[in-house]
Symmetry: C2
C-alpha cells in the first residue's frame, strides 16, 4: 500500500515510514497521539508528528537510557522516569530485583492509556505494585523535591512547546538535586550532527552540576539521523556500570561492548564538547 | 524553498533532503548522476536515486572505510579502491606517506568527471602522481589478479543491478586473492537492522576466506537508518590498527574510541553473526 507517514523534526530532513494501518488517532489535552502499524518497523507511536518508538528498533533507546545509569548504581532501590508514558522504559527499569519503587511522572494520562491498549509488550508493566504513576508536569513535580532517587531517566519528547523547559540548565539542576549521592541520571539529548549547539550548552551546564558528566549516543534507525544521544549526570563515572551484572531478562542492544561504545564520540563532536 | 529530494532504497523507508539547487544532472552509460545543493547537508552526490555522500556527513564513512584497514597494515605501499569515483576515499588513502600507488577501479568515468567538477574538496586528489584510475568493471579487473595490494576498499553502491555481483562470496574471494599476506580489505556492507540476512551470509563467506573477519558500523545521518556497515577481511585482527599512528591530516570522525566502538555490535546482531 503506497501510504506514507512523514516526520519532519528538523527543517532540512524528513523521514517517511510506509503505513499499513492507522490504529488509533486522537488529540489529547496536551498533544496529538497517533498509533500506526508500519511496514517492517511494526507498531509505531507518534506524538505531535514525531516518531517516539517502533516495535522493531525501540530496544536500543530504552535499554541504553535505563541500564546505563542503573548499572552505574548497581542495585537501585528508587527510580524516576520523566515522561515515558508508553511504558517501554518502565519495562527495563522493573528488571532490577532491588527496585522498591519507580515513579513515572508523565504529563499526559492519555499516552499511558493509549499505549496500554495498543502496545501489549509494555502494558503489563503498569500492573507491577512497585510502579507509581503521577500524571503531572515533571518540572513542577521536581520543584517539590521528591527525591532522593537512585536512578532518573528523562524520557522526554523534543525541545518544542512545553518540553522546551526540559532542555534547560534549570531542569538539569532539578534532576541532580533529586538524585541520591551515588545516583545517576540521564536525559534524552538529541543528535550530535544536528543539535551540537544545544548539546554543548547542556553539557557545559552539566559540568557545573556533577563530577562525571558524559554524553553518549545510541543507534535508532527510525530517529532523524538514525540515532539519539543522552546526557549522563552523576558523581560516579559511567565506567562503574561495566562492573555490575545485568538484571534478569534479555538484552536486544546492550552488551559490554555497546555500553562502552556508546560513549565514543566522533572526533569533531568530542572536540566541540571538550573545547 | 519547499523542494525535496526523496530517496527510497528499502520498500519501507524514505529519506528526504531539502533541495536548494539542482547543480548537475545526467544519465551516463551506467547510471543516473545527480548533484544537489541541499539545506544543512551541503553538496550531495546521488547515483540512481541513492545518496552517496553529502559534504556534511561523509567524513565518517570515508575515514572509517579507509583507515580501519590501512591502520591494520600500518604503512601501506599499494592500495586499491573499488568504485570510489567521487574521490573522497582517495583523499583519505593518499594521507599515507608510505603509499606508492593507489589504483581506483571505477566503472563510470562520468562519476569521476562530474565529481572533479563539482566537489572541489576531493578533486585535487586525482592530480597526485601515485593515483592510477582504471575505468572498468571491478569484477573483471580482479579476475586478472592485479594484486597484491596492502589495502583494498570496496566503496560500492548498493546490491542492485550490476553492483549485485559485488555482494557475493565470489567477489569476496577475488578481493582476498588480491590482498598481500598481511593486507586488509573492507567492503561496504549495508545496514544491520535492514539487511541482516545478506550481511550474515557474506560474513559466513568471509569466515571461510580469512582468519580475522569482522563487521563494523559507522553513523552516517543521511544514509537509510542513519549508518552503514563494513565487512573487514584480513588475516590480521582489526585491533592491530589501534597500535599504529594516524597518517598526517585531520580526522573528523576517527579517533581511538570510535575505531574500537565501530566493532561493538547490538546484542541481537552480534548473536546473529555468531550463531
Amino acid at each position: 500500500m503506497n501510504v506514507w507517514f512523514t516526520e519532519q523534526l528538523h527543517p532540512f530532513l524528513r523521514v517517511n515510514l510506509r503505513v499499513e494501518r492507522i490504529v488509533h488517532e486522537e488529540r489529547s489535552p496536551y498533544q496529538h497521539i497517533l498509533v500506526l502499524d508500519t511496514a517492517f518497523f511494526g507498531r509505531t507511536l507518534v506524538l505531535d508528528g514525531i516518531i517516539q518508538l517502533t516495535e522493531l528498533d525501540n530496544a536500543g533507546y530504552h535499554e541504553m537510557m535505563v541500564h546505563v545509569p542503573a548499572l552505574t548504581v548497581g542495585a537501585p532501590k528508587r527510580a524516576l522516569i520523566v515522561g515515558g508514558g508508553d511504558g517501554a522504559a518502565l519495562v527495563q527499569m522493573l528488571r532490577y530485583p532491588s527496585l522498591e519503587e519507580v515513579v513515572v511522572c508523565e504529563l499526559d494520562a492519555r499516552v499511558v492509556e493509549v499505549c496500554r491498549a495498543y502496545f501489549p509488550a509494555f502494558a503489563r508493566a503498569w500492573d507491577d505494585p512497585r510502579v507509581r504513576l503521577i500524571t503531572r508536569d515533571a518540572f513542577a513535580y521536581l520543584e517539590e523535591q521528591p527525591g532522593p532517587f537512585d536512578v532518573i531517566c528523562a524520557d522526554t519528547t523534543d525541545p518544542i512547546g512545553m518540553a522546551e523547559r526540559l532542555f534547560s540548565a534549570e531542569f538539569l539542576r532539578l534532576i541532580v538535586c533529586a538524585l541520591s549521592p551515588n545516583g545517576a541520571a540521564v536525559t534524552q539529548c538529541e543528535q550530535p550532527y544536528f543539535d551540537a549547539a544545544l548539546i554543548t550548552q547542556l553539557y557545559r551546564a552539566a559540568q557545573a552540576l556533577v563530577r562525571h558528566p558524559a554524553y553518549y549516543y545510541v543507534a535508532v534507525p527510525t530517529y532523524p539521523g538514525g540515532g539519539i544521544g543522552f546526557l549522563y549526570l552523576s558523581n560516579q563515572p559511567w565506567e562503574k556500570g561495566l562492573e555490575h551484572p545485568y538484571p534478569p531478562g534479555e538484552n536486544a542492544y546492550l552488551n559490554p561492548q555497546t555500553h562502552r561504545a556508546a560513549f565514543a564520540l566522533p572526533e569533531f563532536f568530542r572536540k566541540a564538547l571538550q573545547s
